[in-house]
Subunit: 219 residues, 2 copies
DNA sequence: GCCGAAATGTTGACACTGACAACCTGACAG
DNA sequence: CTGTCAGGTTGTCAGTGTCAACATTTCGGC
């Protein structure tokens, strides 16, 4: 076909042809580039055409790996939930459910602080429909499930009947606090609320201490 | 100019001309219609062209009232923050800071439950740049400020020095829990976590009780 | 009452997007 | 060697946001 002159913007067709099919994983490159776009300009700027341009392929090439824009977004979010779940699972269960929850709480807030973008994507973003993308939500419940498990183990250690409703209510209480503080750390809410960095730095330990105080009060 | 035949879709130019300029507030109509679109199809589907079609005006008419799509979104979010602030201000301050915080907590969670869409817009949505739209964030801090105020009054009643850092840390603790639970109520997270409606219904009182327990433990 | 300015509509145009269709090329299995 | 498949390509269409220029209505000053 006619050799096109290189255009302003992305590489020309001839330049793209020089990128070998072999030795490349375009699907993974699209995911990485997509996350870069989101990180820099926000989710609204995620565009498969822009991803294609940056990777030196045609505008349709990403659509051979992702059915739609929502599909690549679902993969990015699923990867975030998976990484989050693995991060929380680093601490093995011990015989001390309180210590387990303390460690899990720290891990939760640490993940949100270190991976603010991914945390924001999981929880503070309108996501593609979970029913159309069930794999995206496969690990979404993991943190909450770990909390429920630890609270059950704690209740059983205390003896008495296992009150599942009480477990759920306390899991909600703890998860809400963790999620609320994590959301602050993962977004510009910290600036909105005018919280000084030393305060934010101390808030995880303060939150966990208040959790202990609340949970140690008999009902 | 030539009379156009009515087109499939929105009203034709001739039909639109029949809508008098008098007796209409197109700006407010755009805001209401925009919120309807967001409520039904999500923020990604907010489109000024669609707003214009539904209101029977040309695609450019909304742009005479809003500089851009982000500007109408900023107004919608600002209105939500304002309404939220007014809702929280309904309860007057008393001599009992604990009771004040309890009432405010209930009002907070009630707003999120009754106005899930607006709550989600304020906190779980990528917003236009707050620096470009400072009026959007004018009331964003109100809830947190009320908490700080009540905690200061409580500390002063107890006597002793006013530790502003302790006040901020506890305000963060309480706000995080309120925001976390409100976010659950205002989004599909409740389905994600698999929380039964009776549990969710009881969770506000449970959260507030746990707050009291945590706060009544001397440090 | 007239006139100019402002407000707020209109039509038209452009660059960009998402996604569909059809075609092309290289790899691979039989 | 041939057919199929994977994964590229070019082209197209419908829609969007936003800019420009023009038109109409309203309003204030004289």
């Amino acid at each position: 076909m006619r050799q096109k002159a290189p255009r302003i913007g992305g590489p020309s067709a001839s330049e793209r042809a020089n990128v070998k099919k072999k030795n490349r994983d375009l699907k993974e490159e699209c995911i990485r580039e997509g996350l870069k776009i989101i990180a820099k300009d926000g989710i609204g700027k995620l565009s498969l055409r822009e991803v294609a341009r940056r990777l030196g392929v045609s505008h349709q090439a990403p659509y051979k790996h992702f059915a739609s824009r929502d599909h690549i977004l679902a993969v990015i979010v699923a990867r975030s939930f998976d990484a989050f779940a693995r991060h929380l699972d680093r601490h093995p269960k011990t015989d001390d459910p309180d210590a387990d929850m303390g460690k899990m709480g720290q891990a939760y807030l640490e993940y949100a602080r270190r991976h603010a973008l991914e945390y924001g994507l999981m929880f503070n973003t309108p996501l593609p429909d979970g029913r159309k993308h069930p794999e995206m939500m496969a690990n979404a419940k993991h943190a909450f499930a770990l909390l429920c498990d630890a609270l059950r183990r704690k209740a059983l250690q205390r003896g008495g009947a296992l009150d599942d409703e009480a477990v759920m209510l306390d899991a909600l209480f703890i998860w809400s606090g963790l999620h609320g503080l994590a959301s602050i750390a993962a977004s510009s809410t910290v600036d909105t609320l005018g919280i000084a960095p030393p305060i934010l730095a101390r808030s995880p330990m303060h939150l966990l201490r208040r959790f202990s105080q609340a949970m140690d009060t008999p009902e």
